[in-house]
Symmetry: C2
Subunit: 452 residues, 2 copies
């Protein structure tokens, strides 16, 4: 068996390209095409079950872009494909991205046709970024767009990420937590990601610990000794029996401190009501009830609308893979080359050519009233959302806020969503207006390329 790395190394990210990018780069090189191109990352339509996308990853991906380089080992591996000329491989050897990136802030709610980012630079250089940039931004935007719905459903109750076991691989296990912080989740069970992304880490026991102990109460006693104020998992055998025994034990040993119980199966609403009643009647009103087990935003909304006395939620699969909408049809499209607007005319896949800006207008209530997608040099009322985060291949000092600042800014931006956009049901509305200039440019460009 080949001894390959168990995970993708940072130094190998430059080879994580689709072959056509290298083929096109060589063709640009071979044809002497080295003018500036502009590529835009956007989506044409919202997924059916989303009223907006919480764009995440588009600022931090420039750290990845900055790091890309081809080593001698990479060049040797590419030679083995028998498709590349030595002159082009030399060009790759000298490759460092020299272009610029504009991006919206991390955690910006976006709508169709609004660029998450725009890259400009020598065409072959930008072309090489396509799949990696899409992959990087797609992950965090998809997961954050799901996670923020959980916070809408849960209101002021904390939602904690339990999704690591379901996320697709270890990069997703890690960066999901960054997306969840931006989306407003309260914590994670994931130790590495919690430490790396400065998010509170939670977790006490699985059923296995209870199963391994001679008796369920032995397990609870051990935890109370080691972790005063812990949360006990009560559904390993029978929830109500477990809670009854906990109450009896706590009455006998009043010095023991238990912070909460966790329900992980069964009829959560009915069990929460019964457990709350049992605890309250025994005077343990401060013991909280946490719920987990196949939860999603709809189930949480239903539990809370039934007034289930649940104080917090752990969510796994639903946010770990964004199971109702695991993909976003992000496109990374050339919109300008050699100072001329460019577009394709494939059925259902038309785009707007040219460099762009988004102007976001807020009403007197602080909520979004309209987004104008305009040419980069147009000026409209409203806040311009696309800001430079990379110039000449470098990230300017202070161009990218700290994650803590990004999280605060995201919270403010999420707060600008009108109430109806927070609905868990599809709204079928979006506040985007395309500027007259862009519409005219599309029409002109279409006429020139022979379509329309």
């Amino acid at each position: 068996m080949l001894k390959r790395p168990l995970v993708v190394r940072e130094s190998d990210l430059s080879l994580l390209v689709d072959l056509y990018e290298l083929a096109m780069a060589q063709a640009y090189w071979s044809e002497g095409m080295d003018d500036t191109a502009v590529f835009s990352l956007f989506f044409r339509e919202l997924p059916d079950n989303r009223n907006f996308i919480l764009a995440c990853g588009q600022q931090n991906v420039v750290r990845v872009i900055e790091s890309l380089a081809f080593t001698d080992e990479h060049i040797k591996r590419l030679e083995s494909l028998n498709r590349f000329q030595s002159g082009f491989l030399d060009w790759l050897r000298g490759f460092r991205f020299s272009g610029s990136v504009h991006a919206v802030a991390e955690g910006t709610p976006l709508f169709p046709q609004e660029p998450l980012l725009e890259v400009e630079g020598p065409v072959a250089e930008v072309q090489l970024l396509e799949s990696l940039v899409m992959n990087y931004v797609h992950l965090e935007s998809v997961l954050a767009s799901k996670a923020v719905r959980l916070t809408f459903a849960a209101g002021d109750r904390p939602v904690v990420d339990f999704g690591m076991r379901r996320t697709h691989g270890v990069d997703a296990a890690h960066r999901s937590v960054r997306a969840y912080r931006l989306a407003g989740l309260a914590g994670t069970s994931n130790v590495l990601a919690g430490l790396d992304f400065n998010m509170p880490v939670y977790g006490t026991m699985a059923h296995s610990f209870v199963q391994a102990c001679p008796d369920e109460l032995d397990a609870f006693r051990a935890y109370a000794r080691l972790y005063p104020g812990t949360t006990l998992l009560v559904d390993t055998y029978d929830t109500r029996t477990a809670v009854r025994r906990i109450i009896q034990w706590l009455k006998e040993e009043p010095e023991v401190r238990i912070g909460g119980i966790r329900l992980d199966s069964g009829d959560l609403a009915a069990e929460a009501v019964d457990c709350r009643n049992m605890l309250d009647e025994a005077g343990f009103t401060d013991i909280k009830i946490m719920a987990s087990g196949g939860l999603n935003e709809h189930k949480i909304a239903k539990l809370l609308s039934a007034a289930a006395p649940i104080d917090g939620f752990g969510v796994g699969t639903a946010i770990g893979v964004s199971n109702d909408e695991p993909a976003l049809e992000l496109a990374f499209k050339m919109t300008e080359y050699a100072d001329l607007p460019r577009m394709k005319n494939s059925p259902g896949k038309q785009s707007f050519p040219g460099r762009k800006q988004i102007y976001r207008r807020l009403g007197t209530d602080g909520c979004i009233t309209q987004d104008v997608v305009a040419g980069r040099d147009e000026v409209f009322d409203g806040d311009p959302l696309l800001k430079p985060v990379m110039k000449h291949g470098q990230v300017p000092e202070d161009a990218i806020p700290t994650l803590d600042d990004q999280v605060r800014a995201a919270e403010q931006m999420i707060a600008t969503l009108p109430q109806r956009f927070r609905s868990l049901e599809p709204l079928g509305e979006n506040p985007v207006v395309i500027s007259e200039f862009l519409r005219a440019l599309q029409k002109d460009t279409l006429a020139k390329v022979g379509g329309g």
Copy 2:
């Protein structure tokens, strides 16, 4: 901004745990519980749209298990959580997994209640593996279980992976290709993964190259010069116009060799018929037609049942995230501790205790007739599917075949699926029988833990 690694480093995988695993490990350590535990990785039910799961990753995850260790830096980071005692941190410092793993072969079709793998070892050691093992195996099994359906739909036409831009992060972008090889896909667009996993790499051009050139035909000419026999993307502006111009050009320059055209939008069946007719009438019967653009197994089956003259398919989103079933409810459950069978009794989540073996019986046609899930020490007719892949923390020489051998074995195992299990529609049937011994053991164990 903190300078953290852009991707998870191999050396940090040991910290990629859910906090409760560390909390339980400390509790086992603190309580002096160090007997042997057995944990089983299995699923209770098939996803609605799957007739089997193609189990992948369960052998190779032992390479990950083998690598796990806690560095001084890890220990320092764990100390910062203020939950761990110095004696336990010392135990972690000395941690190397010392247990054993049984697993089914890579690419084995499995059904509910059949273990993908079983781990045994000192309880705290096995507990620490839970989320990482689940994450690792889940990714490849989910993606392979989707990809194999594409091969069923496409029959003898090749299916090529275009999914990198949609896979959830870079680990998924990489290991997806390993899963696709095991599932029988013909190639990938992904350079790094194709090289690492020895899969043919394909790709020619995107719309951007056509857009950047002064004229579509300039783009095609450049590619024909650089890449004789290339596949031309023909839908940037108007497919039929593009094909008409290609035919005229090839008639004028008979020395030019074009291998195929690719359709990426529109009514693929109608366009394929028209393009095929145009090419055939002009005598270019050897130019192949490839199709891509939002394809999945159902669309491919429909195209082929309509006799669309398409010679191969590129598939992205559908396989990249397994969009109809992006998750599998894998469970990693304790089934034995200190030589006693263990199980939980949560509603809808009962499991079978004890170490297990799967005996697969094939009919005279070579197809699966029955799987018996039995106790490890029971003997039944049929092939035992669970084999040792790790003993005392080491992978025995030759315990894990090369990927090429795994792919060949997977092909043979997929061939043992009865025809009805290859249906794209839910079958609602599974060939699993639980042995009398296991049923009795479940009943006994249930009685002892106070349930049933």
